[in-house]
């Protein structure tokens, strides 16, 4: 009788332990997923009230643009903080992205048009998630492709490398091009996902300039 009670107690204890482990595991996963979602601050596309193309709503709008310091093509560190007092268009792009290629001449034209008013474009090359961190040859090829594209397109603004390293605070960058318009105080005033139009980009530049 005593032995049966002991065995039963042990079995019940083990079952309770497994139940607790299952619950703790589920809770841990849930919290980790919430933390991940919060850290990526992903935006979403919503229908335009005017009935046109969907609009990109970024949770960064109205907030300080996440800080970064990335190397340009010459290996020089360029930080967002160094552009405080200027309106900045942070444009995440890639050489392999056809819509990015289409909008590049628009960005060049708009940058030249508004530069005198204190506007700059920071183009950030985003390779994607295919290259491993230790793939030096792969990263060198990526840099060479970016340099070639910049030279061919005569890009006059800074082009920074390794956008992937700052993709999380900017919403994960699942699609390119993605642009953030930052005002002179460093606040995100607008964001765009995908190819829009030169007019829409210009309207957001004016917003960032405070015009």
């Amino acid at each position: 009788m005593k032995r049966n009670t002991l065995v039963l107690t042990a079995v019940l204890f083990i079952l309770a332990l497994f139940a607790w482990a299952g619950w703790a595991n589920w809770e841990y996963r849930k919290q980790a997923a919430e933390r991940l979602l919060a850290s990526t601050a992903q935006g979403e596309l919503v229908a335009s009230p005017a009935g046109g193309a969907p609009q990109y709503i970024s949770p960064l709008k109205g907030k300080a643009a996440p800080a970064f310091a990335l190397e340009d093509l010459n290996g020089k560190k360029v930080s967002l903080a160094s552009y405080k007092g200027k309106a900045v268009l942070i444009n995440f792009w890639a050489t392999w992205c056809a819509p990015c290629k289409i909008e590049t001449p628009w960005l060049i034209e708009l940058r030249n048009k508004y530069a005198a008013q204190g506007f700059e474009v920071l183009a950030i090359s985003t390779e994607g998630d295919d290259l491993q961190k230790d793939d030096k040859a792969g990263w060198a090829r990526d840099k060479a492709a970016v340099a070639k594209f910049v030279q061919q397109s005569k890009v006059p603004y800074p082009v920074l490398m390794d956008g992937d390293s700052i993709s999380r605070p900017y919403g994960g960058l699942d699609q390119l091009p993605t642009s953030f318009f930052v005002d002179r105080k460093g606040t995100v005033v607008a964001a765009q996902l995908g190819l829009t139009s030169a007019d829409e980009i210009e309207a957001n530049i004016k917003k960032a300039l405070g015009n």
Partner: protein, 165 residues
């Protein structure tokens, strides 16, 4: 008897520890799953003569609304669709015939022509298998876009059970 109960408790604790460790790895090591732009359809299994080059038709499906670059994209910067088989799989890829891409333009810029695949497409792979049963994890690398935006390049696994006879 007490020793037996102790053993049960220790085994349970070990199993529990293993479960918790798996849970923590799962939470930190995986990203949130997203629908794939390209899906491998079939075949799951092929039987080919061992040591001889054989042609195998591999079928893929691209998600609606998306396109991927063809094997010969229209621009040097674009990423081509490429099928490969890792070395040491018991199966060698001798070559592959890709379908010709369809020429499309984006609505906002009719001047830029793209060579792409949409919907279902088929790659004819020429493989040589050594005798035996080989679970091959072939790869398909591609880069997908819709009409306004592009997703980062991806490499998916193409699992094929190749029997060399």
């Amino acid at each position: 008897m007490t020793k037996a109960i102790m053993k049960i408790c220790v085994a349970a604790a070990l199993a529990l520890g293993s479960l918790l460790a798996q849970g923590q790895m799962g939470a930190s090591g995986r990203s949130i799953a997203k629908p794939a732009a390209v899906e491998y359809l079939f075949p799951e299994q092929v039987t080919v003569p061992a040591g001889k080059a054989s042609s195998v038709a591999l079928h893929f499906r691209i998600a609606p609304g998306l396109h991927i670059n063809s094997h010969t994209p229209s621009d040097e910067f674009f990423i081509p669709t490429v099928f490969s088989i890792p070395e040491g799989a018991g199966v060698r890829l001798e070559g592959a015939n890709y379908p010709a891409g369809t020429d499309v333009t984006l609505p906002i810029d009719p001047k830029t022509r793209l060579s792409v695949y949409t919907g279902d497409f088929e790659i004819q792979a020429r493989i040589v298998a050594v005798p035996g049963n080989h679970m091959v994890e072939a790869k398909l690398r591609f880069q997908a876009c819709d009409k306004n935006a592009c997703m980062p390049p991806k490499t998916i696994t193409v699992p094929i059970d190749v029997i060399g006879k």
